[in-house]
Symmetry: C2
Subunit: 615 residues, 2 copies
Amino acid sequence: MAAPHSPSSLSRYLDGEFWKIRDNLREGISNCELFHYDLSLDQIRDLTADRLHYAMKLPLMQRHLTDQVKESWVQKFSILCFFSPLFYLYINLQNLAFTGMFALTERGHGSNARGILTEAHYEPATQEFIIHTPCEDAQKMYIGNAMKGHYAAVFAQLIIKGEPHGPHCFIVPIRDQHGVMWPGVTAFDMRHKEGLHGVDNGILIFDHVRIPRENLLDKFGSVSADGKYSSRIRSKGTRFNAMIAALTPTRLALTVQAMAAMKLGLIIAVRYSHSRRQFGPKDQDEVKIIEHQTQYLRLMPHLATSLALTFTVRYAARLMDDALSQGQDLQSNRPLQALVAGLKAYSTWANVVCLQECRECTGGMGFMMENRIPSLKCDSDVFVTFEGDNMVMLQVVVRELMTQYTKQFEDSIVTGMIRNWSSSASDRIRTSFLGFSVDKVGDLSFLLKALSYRERVLQRSLAARLYAKVMNITLSLSTSFDCPSFLNIAKSLLVTLEQFALAVQECQVKDDQDLLSKFCLLHGTSLVYQERAWYLEHNYLSPGASRQIRNQLLELCRSVKDDALKVVADFNFPSCCIQAPIAGVVNPRAEWGFYPLSESPVSQSHAQQRAMSKL
Amino acid sequence: MAAPHSPSSLSRYLDGEFWKIRDNLREGISNCELFHYDLSLDQIRDLTADRLHYAMKLPLMQRHLTDQVKESWVQKFSILCFFSPLFYLYINLQNLAFTGMFALTERGHGSNARGILTEAHYEPATQEFIIHTPCEDAQKMYIGNAMKGHYAAVFAQLIIKGEPHGPHCFIVPIRDQHGVMWPGVTAFDMRHKEGLHGVDNGILIFDHVRIPRENLLDKFGSVSADGKYSSRIRSKGTRFNAMIAALTPTRLALTVQAMAAMKLGLIIAVRYSHSRRQFGPKDQDEVKIIEHQTQYLRLMPHLATSLALTFTVRYAARLMDDALSQGQDLQSNRPLQALVAGLKAYSTWANVVCLQECRECTGGMGFMMENRIPSLKCDSDVFVTFEGDNMVMLQVVVRELMTQYTKQFEDSIVTGMIRNWSSSASDRIRTSFLGFSVDKVGDLSFLLKALSYRERVLQRSLAARLYAKVMNITLSLSTSFDCPSFLNIAKSLLVTLEQFALAVQECQVKDDQDLLSKFCLLHGTSLVYQERAWYLEHNYLSPGASRQIRNQLLELCRSVKDDALKVVADFNFPSCCIQAPIAGVVNPRAEWGFYPLSESPVSQSHAQQRAMSKL
C-alpha cells in the first residue's frame, strides 16, 4: 500500500476541522492487512479482536486514551468506521486489559426496556446487592462481548425491603482475567447471525449473584448502607429516561457507522459503474453503465444523502460536544436527543436502501463476497432495530414530549414543541446564491420551505390530536401511524438539507462549492420527490409542479454522474478498507473480479489509481 | 415430526388443482432433517446435493422423471420451493447420473448476452466445432454446478469459414464421471457469495475444445457436414431471442421461488407478531406486537401480495402449459414472455422488500440465523439481477416490441401493443359482490380501473414517444426512464389484481371467499396507495380521495391482522421447512429463541400447534 496522497480541497472540507487527526488515522490503518471474509465464526471473532488491538495501539489512539479530555471523539475517530462496522463499540472500550459489556435488553423486553425483569435486591446485613434472573424472560440477551468480557453494566429493578425503585445500573463481574466465571453467572453463546460476526452476542443469566453496594452506578439514585434510597429525580419514568439518555452518543456513532457503510457501498458501485460497459449504440463500443439513466438515477440521490449526512453528523457532534463541555447532562437536552434519535432512524434506513441499490446496480458482481457489499448489507442491517428500534424510537421521543406536556399548561404543547424544535437553521441560510434553475421548484429555498412546511403541518396535526386526548393519554403505539414518526423523520430531513446548505454556503473553494451546490439541490429535490404524494395531497404542489420535480431529479442526477467519481475519491477511504476488486482494488483471492479504474476527471484520482496499481 | 394434518378448505384452494401431488410431496419432505445453517462452504454444498438426492428419490418425483409428459411441473412441484431456494435449478436436472450447467453469461456480457465473445469455429475436415475463449471478457462466469457438473450448454458465436452466424448453443463435455476434465476445459471456483451457498458458481475457460458436429443444438440453426449453415430464422437478433425464450419457464419458476421466500418470511413474522408482547396500557399486560399499527401496516400488504401471486403464478403456468401442449414455441408467444418477465421483476422486488420488513418486524430475533429470515434474504437477493436483470429485462421486452414495429406499418404500434396486452381479464370480473365499503375508492372495481388506467396512459405515452423517433431508433436504456419499465410493472400489477379478483369470485366456500375478498381489496388498495403520487399528478385521484385511500389501507390492514394467522397456517408449509424457533418450531441448537404459538382462531392451527409441541 502506497503512502496516503495529498488530499484535495474537497476531501479536506469533507473531513472538517479534525482533518489532521483523521489523516493520521488513515495512515495508521492503511497498512493493516487484517481483512478477510471467508472465516469460521471463531476465526472472525479473533480477527476482529486483532483489528481492535491494532487500532487501539495506534499512537494517536494511545494518546487519546491517556488524555483526560475525551471530547469530540465522534468527529475525530469516526474515520475508523470504515475500518470496521464495530467502531461504535470499540470507542467505548477505553482500554483492553479488561473489557466490558452493556446488559440492558432481556428476552422479554427489548424495545420496552423499562419493563425489564432482572432484580437487584439490597441486603443491608452484608451491604450487598443480589442480582437475580427470576424467569426466562429476564435473561439478558444479545449481549455483545458476553463470551469474553470481564464486567457487565447490568440494568435491573432495584428492590429494597420489598419496595421497587425502578431500573438502575449495576457493575457485575462476569469472569476474571483467566476466564473463570464469577459465582452465579452463566453465559451462553447465541452464535450465528445475519452479520456482525466479529461480535459475540450472548445470554447472561444471574443466579443470586452478590456484588458490593458500591457497584450501583449512583448518578441517578443511591442506596445508603442501611438501605435508604435517595434520588434527585422523583419519577421512576423520568429517572429511567435520564439513564437511557446515555445512549445518545452511541446512537450518533451508529449514524456515523451507517453513513460510512453507505459511502463504502457507493465508492464501490460508482467506480464499477464508471468502468463496466454494457449495451450501447449499434456498431459502436458499449457504454459505461453509469450512462444508463436507470443506473445514475438509482445511485446519485444516495450519494447526495451521504454528503448531507456528513455535514449533519458534524453539526450534531458539535452540539453534543458543546453540551458536554458546558457540563450539561444529555438527558436534559431534549432537542439534541430528538435530533440524534431522528438521525439514527433516518440514516440507518437510508443505508439499507442505499446498499440494496448498490447491490443491484453492481449485478452478479455485487453478490460476490469479495466485493464487500454483501457483508456491508448484512452487518448494517441490524442498525435499524438495535440501539433503539427505529420505528419505536421515533415514537418514544414524541411520547416523551407528550409526557412532559401533562406537567405543563394544557395549551403550551404547541409552543413547547415549537420551542424545542425551533432551532431551525433555515433563517440563517442565504439561498439566492444557490438558485441556478429557471423556475420555482428548482430553487433550494423552495425545497427548504417545502420540507419546513411539511414539518409544521405534521406538528400542528399532532398537537391537535394531543389536545383531544390529553387528559386521558393512552400511550399506545397504535394511535400513532403517520404523525409522530413521520414528524420526527420530517424534522431529520429538514435538518440534513439545512446543514448541507450551510456547508455549501461556507465552502471557500469555488469549484468545490459549485459541486456541493449541485448535490445539495439534488438532495433537496430527492427528498421532496419522495414525499410528493403528501405535498399533492396537501395542495402544496400542483400536479404540474410535481412532474417538474421529477424532471429536475432526472436532470440533476444526470448532471452529477461524472462528478460522482471525484466525490467518492474525496471520501478518501484507504484502499485496504475498500477491498473490492470491482472498485479497482486487487484481491489475490478473486483475481477474476478485478476491474481497473477508469480514467477519472481529476488528478486526485489519478494519483490514487497509480497508488493502487502498485499493490 | 407428526404426520401432515388434514388441510383446510382454504389451504386446498391455495394449492389448486394439483393439491394431491403437493400434499404427497409435503409428506415426503416432512421427514427430511437435512437443514443446517452453520456449515462451511463445502459442507453446505454437500448438504444441498444430499437434499437434492432426497427430493429426487421421492416416489412421485421418480414417476415424474420416467414419465414422458412433463407438463404442469411448475404447478405440481413448486411446493419444493420451500424445501430449498434452489428448486428452480433442481427441476431442470431430470436425473442425477450426469448433471449439467447453463453457460451463457460471460465476464464481459451479462445483461447484454447477445454480445458474448466465446467462439465456436466449425472445422469441416474433422466435422468438429472448436469452442474457444479468446479473451478474459469471454470467460463463462457465475456458472452454477461448474465444479461438479458433467456437461455444459455453452452459448458461443458460431463461425464458419470466418463468417459469423451469431450466438448458438453447444453441448460441451466438462468432466467425466470420475471428475477428469475434458481436454482444454478449465473450471475455477468463485467461492463466497452473499447467499445461495449450496450452489457452486464457477468460471469456465475453453482452450480450443473440440466437440462433434452433433453437439450443436440445432433447433434454430444447423451446420451441414461440409459447413453450410441453415436456419429457418433469418435475422440473427430474432434467432437469439428465440433461443433466449427458453428462459421463460425458468423465470416463472423464479417467481414461484420468490413467492415461496415471501411466504416463509411472512409465516415467521406473522406468528412471532402474534406471540411476542411489547408495550401496552399502563398497569395491564403488554399487548401482542401485531396490535401495533406500525406492525400490521408493514406486514399485511405483503401477505395480500403473496396471495395475489399465488393465483397469478397459477394463471401464467396454465398459459404456459396450454402453449406447450399445443406445440407452440414459447418464442412466438410474446404476451406470455412479457407477462412472465414482468412477473419475475415484480415478484422478486416484492420479495426483497417483504423480507426486509419481516426482518425489521422481528427485531433482533429476525437477525438470528436460526430464525431463517437472514438466509432467505441473502439467498433470494440475487433473484432481482439474475435470469435477466429486473431493470434491463423490463426494457428488453419493450425493445422487442419496438423492433417488431419497424417491420410493420408505422401506425400499427399502438394497435399492436394494445392487441398484445388486451387479454386483460378486467371485463370478466364481476366486482359488485366484492364492494363492501361505502364509497368509491373502496370498490374493487375502482381499484381495477385505476390500475388499468395507469397502464393505458403509460402505453399511450410510450407509443407517442416511439412515433417521434421511430425511423431512427436509438435503443439506449437512457431514453427510457419511467415509461417502458413502469409500463411493464403496471401491467404486472394489474394482472395480479385481476387474477386475485377472479380467484375470489371462483372460491366456493363462503368463509374463504370473504377472507380472500378482504385481502384482495387490501392488495388493490396497497397498489394504488403506492402509486398515489402518479394518480395525483394525472388528476385521477383528488387530494381527498388519496387521503381516503390511505385510511382505507390502514383500516383493511387492521381488519385482517387476526386472519393473518389462519392464512399463514393455510400456506401449509411443513414445519421442518419453517425451522424458526420464533415461529413456534423447536430448534435444539437455539432453545432460547423458542416462542410458543399463540392461541389461534381456527382449529387448523390448533392441530398444527399440537403437532409441533410433539417435536
